[in-house]
C-alpha cells in the first residue's frame, strides 16, 4: 500500500497491467510457441538436433562474428558519435543522416551490395584478391555485414549522452591538470560507458539474429561459413519444424543469458558510479 502512495503519477496498476499484457501478446506468446513446438521432441532427439557438429560450428560462427562486429562498432561508433557531437564541419548533417541508413535499408539489399563490392570481381574485392585476401564468401565477409547493420545502434545511443556532456567539463578537467588521456578515461568514458554498453549489446543482439544481409556474402559452406539462422531455415526446408525450433530455443537461451549478463554489468557499473559520487 505504502508503495502505491509513493507514486506521484496516477495509473500505475493500469499501465503495468497493460505493459504485461502487451509484452505477452507481442513477445512472450510467440516465443513460448517455440518452446511448445520443441517439447514434441524427446531429449535425445533434441540433443541430436542442437548439438550435431554442423550446428555447433554455426553457433561459434554466429556468436563469434556478432561479438567481433559489435566490438568494431563500439569502437568506431563511439568515434563517429564523438566527431558528430564535438565538431562542426560542412556536410555534417549528411553524415549524420547516413548513419541511420543501415537501419532503413532492406537487409537483402545491404547483403547484395556488400557482396558485389567484396566479391573477387568487385571494387574492393579485386584490390584484395591479388594479395590472397578473400572477404566475400568467408567468415570475414560475415563480420563485415554484421558490422554494417550494427553501426547505428552504437552511434545513436552514445550521441545523446555526449551531447549532454558539456565541453566545459573537459575544460575543467584540463584546468585542474589532467592530460588528454586522463580526461578521456576519468571524465568522459565513465559518463558514456553505460550508453556504450547498451549500444554494444543492441548491435550484438541484432547481429545474432541477422539473416538477410549475411546470406549473400557468407558463402554458406557447412562447418565454415554457415550461420545459425541458416541452419534453422535449412531444417524448415526439410519440414523439420521441431528441429528448427529446437535450434531456435538454444539461440534464444544463449542470447538471453548474454543480454542478461550485459544488463547485469550495466547495473553493477551504475551502482559503483553512484557510490563514488
Amino acid at each position: 500500500m505504502s508503495k502505491k502512495h509513493n507514486n506521484v503519477l496516477p495509473g500505475f496498476n493500469l499501465s503495468l497491467g497493460f505493459t504485461i499484457f502487451y509484452l505477452s501478446l507481442i513477445v512472450l506468446i510467440p516465443l513460448s510457441a517455440a518452446f511448445i513446438k520443441t517439447s514434441t521432441l524427446s531429449l535425445h532427439e533434441f540433443w541430436v538436433a542442437v548439438a550435431s557438429p554442423r550446428v555447433v560450428a554455426s553457433y561459434k560462427l554466429t556468436f563469434g562474428a556478432s561479438l567481433i562486429g559489435a566490438s568494431i562498432n563500439a569502437l568506431f561508433g563511439l568515434l563517429t558519435a564523438w566527431v558528430l557531437t564535438r565538431y562542426t564541419f560542412p556536410g555534417k548533417r549528411i553524415i549524420d543522416a547516413l548513419v541511420d541508413l543501415p537501419f532503413a535499408l532492406p537487409t537483402a539489399v545491404a547483403g547484395i551490395a556488400l557482396t558485389a563490392i567484396y566479391a573477387p570481381n568487385g571494387w574492393i574485392g579485386s584490390l584484395l584478391a591479388p594479395h590472397g585476401i578473400k572477404v566475400a564468401f568467408t567468415p570475414i565477409g560475415i563480420v563485415i555485414a554484421l558490422t554494417f547493420i550494427g553501426l547505428p545502434f552504437v552511434v545513436r545511443t552514445v550521441q545523446p549522452i555526449l551531447e549532454d556532456l558539456e565541453a566545459e567539463t573537459e575544460e575543467a578537467a584540463a584546468s585542474l591538470g589532467a592530460n588528454r588521456w586522463q580526461t578521456f578515461t576519468k571524465i568522459i568514458f565513465p559518463a558514456i560507458a553505460p550508453a556504450l554498453l547498451t549500444g554494444f549489446s543492441l548491435a550484438f543482439a541484432r547481429a545474432i539474429g541477422e539473416y538477410g544481409s549475411v546470406i549473400f556474402i557468407a558463402g554458406n559452406m557447412p562447418m565454415v561459413s554457415e550461420i545459425t539462422p541458416l541452419i534453422i531455415i535449412t531444417k524448415l526446408e526439410q519440414y523439420d519444424y521441431a528441429g528448427a525450433t529446437a535450434v531456435a530455443v538454444v539461440m534464444l537461451v544463449i542470447s538471453f543469458i548474454l543480454l542478461l549478463g550485459i544488463n547485469g554489468l550495466q547495473w553493477w557499473n551504475s551502482r559503483r558510479n553512484s557510490r563514488a559520487i
Binding site: 557447412p222 526446408e237 526439410q238
Partner: protein, 333 residues
C-alpha cells in the same frame, strides 16, 4: 432504424451482386523459381482458351520461390488452387504434413503428373577454358564448381543425384565410390547459395566458378539473357530426368469451388499448345508431336530416372539430404 436497415441491405446487395452474376474466376498457382517465364506465357494462353470455351474470365496469379518454401506456405494455409513444384517430394509433403491432397495424387494426371521435364547440364564460360566435357572434369582439382545447397534447393538435389548416378554407373554401382566422387565434387564448391537463381547470380554476375550445375531451362535462359558470346552449355554423357510435378490442391479448390477450372488449367498443360509453350521456355515437352518439332533444341542425353536409381524421392531424401545423410557426412568428416 428502418432507414439504416435499408442501407445495410443495399450495401449487402452491392457486395454480393458481382460475384453472383459474372463468372470472374481467380486462380492462384504456387510454383517454384525458374518457372516464372513459363507460367507468364501459359497463363495468358489458358485464360484465352478458357474464355473461348466457357465464356468465363479467369485471371491467374502465380507465386514463385524456392520449391520447399512454397510447399510450406501452402501447408501453412496459403490458398493455392494448384501447386506446380520442382520435385514430387515437395508435393508429397502436401499430403504428409497437411493432408491437403490424397495420397495417390501423382496418378491423377498423365506421365506421373509431370507435364514437362528437364535435366541438369553444365554452364561454362565462353571457350570452355577448363575443357569441361563430362562429370569427370568437374571433380578435377582446380576446377571451381557452383551449385546451390541441396538442403535448401530442389534444383541442387537434382544436381547431387545426377552426379551420384554418374559415379554409380561408372563404378558398377559401388556406393562408396559414388560418395567419394560427390565428395570430391563438393570440395570444388566455393559458395553454396540457398537457391538456383542465387547460384546463377554468383556464377554470372560475380564471376565465380568455372562451371555452373544448372537446370537445363535455367542454363538456356541465362544464355539467352546474357548472350551466347559469354557462356556455353555443355551436356554431360549422363544426367538425371528431372520431373517437376503439378497437382490441384483439393482442400483449397473445394473451399473456393474452383475444382473444374483448376483441373482444366493443369490438363491444358498436356495439350498441344501447352506443350509448345513449355518447349519455348526450354522445358522438354512430353507430347511426341511437339517433342519431335523441338528435337533440335534439346541435345540428346542419356537420362536416368530417380525411381530406378534411387528408389523414389522419399528414399533419396532420407539417404542423402536429411540430417545425418550422405551430404552431411561429406562435410563432417
Amino acid at each position: 432504424m428502418k432507414k439504416s436497415l435499408f442501407h445495410i441491405s443495399l450495401l449487402a446487395a452491392l457486395v454480393i451482386a458481382p460475384t453472383a452474376q459474372a463468372a470472374d474466376i481467380t486462380l492462384l498457382n504456387v510454383s517454384y523459381d525458374p518457372t516464372r517465364e513459363l507460367y507468364q506465357d501459359y497463363n495468358t494462353a489458358f485464360a484465352k482458351y478458357w474464355k473461348a470455351k466457357t465464356g468465363d474470365t479467369v485471371s491467374i496469379k502465380a507465386s514463385h520461390g524456392g520449391s520447399g518454401k512454397q510447399a510450406r506456405a501452402i501447408i501453412d494455409g496459403l490458398d493455392a488452387d494448384v501447386a506446380t513444384l520442382a520435385l514430387a517430394y515437395d508435393v508429397d509433403q502436401l499430403y504428409e504434413k497437411g493432408r491437403l491432397i490424397p495420397k495417390d495424387w501423382q496418378k491423377r494426371l498423365g506421365h506421373n503428373s509431370a507435364p514437362y521435364t528437364s535435366t541438369i547440364v553444365f554452364l561454362v564460360r565462353k571457350g570452355n577454358p577448363k575443357k569441361i566435357k563430362d562429370w569427370d572434369d568437374v571433380v578435377k582439382p582446380g576446377v571451381s564448381v557452383i551449385t546451390p545447397n541441396p538442403k535448401t534447393s530442389g534444383g541442387a538435389r537434382w544436381n547431387y543425384l545426377a552426379a551420384w548416378a554418374y559415379a554409380l554407373k561408372k563404378n558398377n554401382n559401388d556406393e562408396t565410390k559414388a560418395k567419394e566422387f560427390v565428395g570430391k565434387l563438393f570440395k570444388n564448391v566455393p559458395v553454396l547459395d540457398t537457391g538456383a537463381r542465387g547460384a546463377t547470380t554468383t556464377f554470372v554476375e560475380r564471376g565465380i566458378g568455372d562451371v555452373l550445375l544448372a537446370w537445363e531451362n535455367e542454363a538456356f535462359l541465362a544464355q539467352k539473357e546474357l548472350g551466347p558470346d559469354k557462356f556455353e552449355i555443355i551436356v554431360p554423357s549422363l544426367s538425371i530426368l528431372a520431373e517437376p510435378t503439378v497437382t490441384v490442391v483439393d482442400k483449397v479448390v473445394d473451399k473456393r469451388k474452383t475444382r473444374a477450372v483448376a483441373t482444366a488449367y493443369l490438363e491444358y498443360l498436356y495439350s498441344e499448345e501447352g506443350q509448345e509453350i513449355a518447349a519455348q521456355n526450354y522445358y522438354r515437352p512430353i507430347l511426341d508431336s511437339v517433342a519431335k518439332k523441338y528435337e533440335k533444341s534439346f541435345p540428346k542425353v542419356s537420362l536416368v530416372k530417380i525411381d530406378e536409381v534411387f528408389g523414389g524421392w522419399q528414399k533419396a531424401q532420407k539417404t542423402h539430404f536429411a540430417d545425418g545423410g550422405t551430404f552431411d557426412e561429406i562435410y563432417q568428416k
